[in-house]
Subunit: 434 residues, 3 copies
């Protein structure tokens, strides 16, 4: 009897553990799938920010880097990122090209989630490339980023030496947004501004050409971001669902406070002009808040999410102003949003985390580790992007020819404008031919 | 042995109950996150209905009210709505500003779901504000709506006195759509029609300027609505998943029958004109059916969903006609769809509910309660919206200046048109300047 | 004691089985709901491919067929498709009009999933109808397709005689995409080309008018496709979640390799022209890869998904070229993508399936069954679409009048162009009238 009882008890425990795992892998896979819709968000964000003549070209870059990220993650990136860490804890060394996934079927969920995030990170870099970077050059950079630069940072933060030091960056303000945003900065810097960008005579031309694209993008990103952040639990069972709920609630609040702050700030500084209300500003503020809250949304209270959203908004406004002063031409504001707010967001676990932060009297150790992590991400990202851009420049693959830039990449190398609406021509009516 | 057995049995029961809760909170959180994409739907629905000169302005209103709803729900709305009911069962009195959420982590899921719904409800009101309401005025109204007017109605219906009477409104045809739709009616009425709206010479100008935006919107809403409706179970476990399935199946069918009815009705009444097929009509009919089936989709059969969709379609067509006769100018048809079909949908549990309805011989008590509820929602919504509009009018924050309206809000206060496609100018080619 | 123990053990086993079912039905319902967003994808894919004058008309077709599919599936299609098979194993004979669903509440999940798929399949056919098919004619065809042609094929493949032979087509490369793509082929063929399509003077007019619509569509479809494919497990519990993960990972990879292949192929064949980079090509290649990997993504390895994506890309390029040579005018490339890659995808379980395929030395039986299935789908689809088109031709409901086609369906029968952006007119400013 006793034995029978123990056996039954064990069996049931096992079965329950199976469901636990089913639920967790399901959650990771589902959020990974939903996060892929962020590529739509990035494509339209960047498409809406550039001039009519370059809409297709930038969307091509985002679409291509989506596909490239997936393939590169499969071949090499996932192994470097999530494989068993090597002795130096610098990179992973297993799981390349789906090797032995079938023996560890839980790897699929992990692969799907991390690959969707990698595609999003890669699209952040494309922001710096808008309107003047060569498409083959960008493709080469994208291969390097998704196959090497990015996976290594993720390995440090979530499996390697930095993780061992206690680095905490829940959904990746530092490891993802800062790394990618700094990539955009280097690319932007190396490319130099778009022709006529700071020529006062033409400045008005460089306003975003389609604000509805930007709105479409940001509301899509807002929704997907809640899955991006909460999916980072990689689990639902055993109370993780509460972290998921907390994380989504914080993401909602942080995004909203960032959006409102920038919206009102813009209103007060422009209240006597004809642009006192700005759709683009509420959108960008929303993104700024979301990036800022990404690193810490698992273990903060909602008031902290509110504050962090506003911090994100302030950083966005400040960094955008500084870049404009320095004549660094970032067509889609990728640098203030992802690098600026990413850095701020990576500090937040050191400040506001209930179980780690200074505010809760846990001392400054956590903050120190966060700073160390960010310094490493920045150095790593700057170094590789700089080298890559230098090589591309040598190969004449960095910036398109001036004639192409002036006429626009769409009509010169992408087969025509992104859309056109031809009326019926008289002649056509006369010559039907079936 | 016996004791050991009892302990093990108890442990496992507990564990299973935990998974039950994991699953339920997960479902509530997930549907809440997905429902936020409805804001994209409302932004493009309204952006597509207005004239080119006002597209940004209305999207700004929707975007701002999204962020405002989230912040107001966090500060005060959620507490009024879902807090412990006070003695009078009029409003909730706990859970403000996330207070003690961390001790009741199941509150996060509930907060996320209800906040996403509140944002949607708030956007419904914005429909009435299109093309002529002052943006600061609308923002003030939005604060009042999401922080006070709306949460109180929800409290009545799902926790308070009305709930105690047996009021049943599954996903909120009455408490949500009717309350908000009546808000849109009062705003529309107080604002008076857009200039030239009923001037025959200019009437054609007021056709929706972008039907593809409307289609984008409605198909997004259709998908999100299935989560909106089925998420209202707040549970998956213990058979709730069947209610979820039933609810989604009914939502699909009700939306489809509403869309087809209005599409064919429009065809038959316009069959000799050049507008015999109408994309906008199939979209609006679809929404009408969805609103109508929202109140009762948990406990009706599919044939009833089909019938209710058609009822929604009929109400939409009728109310739109009456409003046009009365020269009440509702640019986005928010009143017929949300107020009209919302009222009809709130009646349906009294008629078609398998466990409550007249059709199934349960008598008219349920219907009586539904009518009582709707009278209260209407009275509450009319009173507060009227007072708010009167105050805004006094403060000159209700309607924009006539010059702004005539030129459009976009170029005069929102920084320019929503999009523009400038060709390359000759001069620009001559003066490159990097 | 023993009895008590057995009872408790049994109870718990039961309860666990319930959760298993909860999880499985939940998954089926959720993926069904998400798959409905594919209608947005098809609407914008086709809207972006046609000329300005026909955008509304094709979106109306997709929207109408969405609603019609849902209603027809409810009335008759679901019963034919998923009802108890009759003796001949030709069609189902129960479950019509939701009959007895309430006694078998698991039917709702199944209904939702299959109905969303049916709507998607129906939209594939609409591709062939673009720019010249009569709307009433298309509606009639849509009733026939979703109520009869399509459900029968699905019954064969997943419940009937073909299933008994061992036919395996995980998410429907053959039963869904091939059947629908062949429908598009027959419709395209019977309609004959659009006027002036192959007149060299006007050929340039027939380029897709809006590539951003196409990108919006394809990224939406990419995300939804992962739910489409993985939802076909109809289960999460008991390890199915691993199949889900594998399926999504393969779908990601297959879509990406297809997109990249066609993108690079297009580059190499056009590298000296001004259209060397093409957004439309990376989009179509992506879809081609997705269709190709749909049939086998449950049981293949990732390298196979990569290869299959490329096979899809090759087939797409080849078939599109052949159709152009034969002057078969397929405005949205529905035939190469869905019929061509659908056929290839239906072969793949015979080649690459770990538990069935030739590559894994399981012999050619499986491949034989796959070929047999495809022959039957093609024959069935050709026969009924041909008969339907012939009857519609007789009734003069096949092709619109030449005048309507030349001016465009939008201004002549759909109430005007899809969008228009009128500036403020002087006169209007002079005559305000409120």
């Amino acid at each position: 009897m006793n034995e029978q009882f123990n056996q039954a008890h064990y069996d049931i425990k096992q079965q329950i553990t199976h469901y636990e795992h089913d639920l967790d892998h399901f959650w990771t896979t589902l959020t990974g799938a939903v996060v892929l819709i962020m590529q739509l968000g990035f494509a339209f964000l960047e498409g809406g920010c550039v001039r009519y003549r370059n809409i297709q070209s930038i969307i091509i870059k985002v679409y291509a880097n989506t596909a490239i990220s997936i393939i590169m993650m499969w071949i090499v990136g996932y192994g470097l990122m999530m494989g068993k860490t090597n002795d130096s804890q610098f990179n992973g060394i297993s799981g390349f090209s789906g090797f032995r996934f079938k023996d560890h079927p839980e790897s699929y969920a992990d692969f799907v989630f991390n690959t969707a995030l990698a595609a999003a990170a890669n699209s952040i870099v494309s922001g710096g490339a808008a309107e003047r970077m060569s498409i083959p050059g960008y493709i080469a950079l994208s291969v390097l980023f998704s196959g090497f630069i990015y996976p290594i940072c993720i390995h440090w933060a979530y499996k390697g030496w930095l993780y061992d030091l206690g680095y905490h960056d829940f959904a990746g303000s530092g490891a993802i947004h800062l790394t990618a945003g700094i990539g955009a900065l280097v690319v932007t810097f190396m490319l130099r501004p778009r022709t006529n960008r700071f020529n006062p005579q033409f400045e008005s031309q460089f306003k975003p050409s389609n604000t509805t694209f930007i709105c479409l993008s940001c509301l899509t990103l807002y929704m997907a971001w809640m899955c991006f952040n909460s999916g980072s639990t990689l689990a639902l069972s055993d109370g993780s669902v509460f972290t998921v709920g907390n994380s989504i609630a914080n993401t909602m609040v942080g995004g909203a406070s960032g959006g409102l702050f920038v919206f009102f700030y813009h209103y007060f500084t422009n209240r006597n002009t004809d642009s006192r209300f700005s759709l683009v500003m509420v959108c960008n503020g929303n993104l700024a808040g979301l990036v800022a809250v990404t690193g810490s949304n698992d273990e903060i209270e909602q008031w902290a999410a509110f504050v962090i959203g506003i911090i994100g908004g302030i950083i966005y406004v400040l960094v955008a102003k500084i870049l404009h002063k320095l004549q660094i031409d970032d067509p889609v504001d990728a640098i203030p949003i992802h690098a600026g707010c990413g850095l701020a967001g990576a500090m937040c676990p050191g400040w506001f985390d209930r179980r780690r932060g200074i505010y809760y009297e846990w001392g400054a150790y956590q903050w120190g580790v966060q700073v160390l992590g960010c310094v490493c991400f920045v150095a790593w990202s700057v170094a590789w992007h700089y080298v890559a851009c230098k090589i591309l420049e040598r190969l004449n693959l960095l910036r398109v020819h001036n004639r192409i830039e002036m006429e626009g990449l769409d009509p010169t190398i992408c087969g025509g404008h992104a859309f056109f609406y031809e009326p019926v021509r008289e002649q056509e009516m006369k010559e039907p031919y079936s």
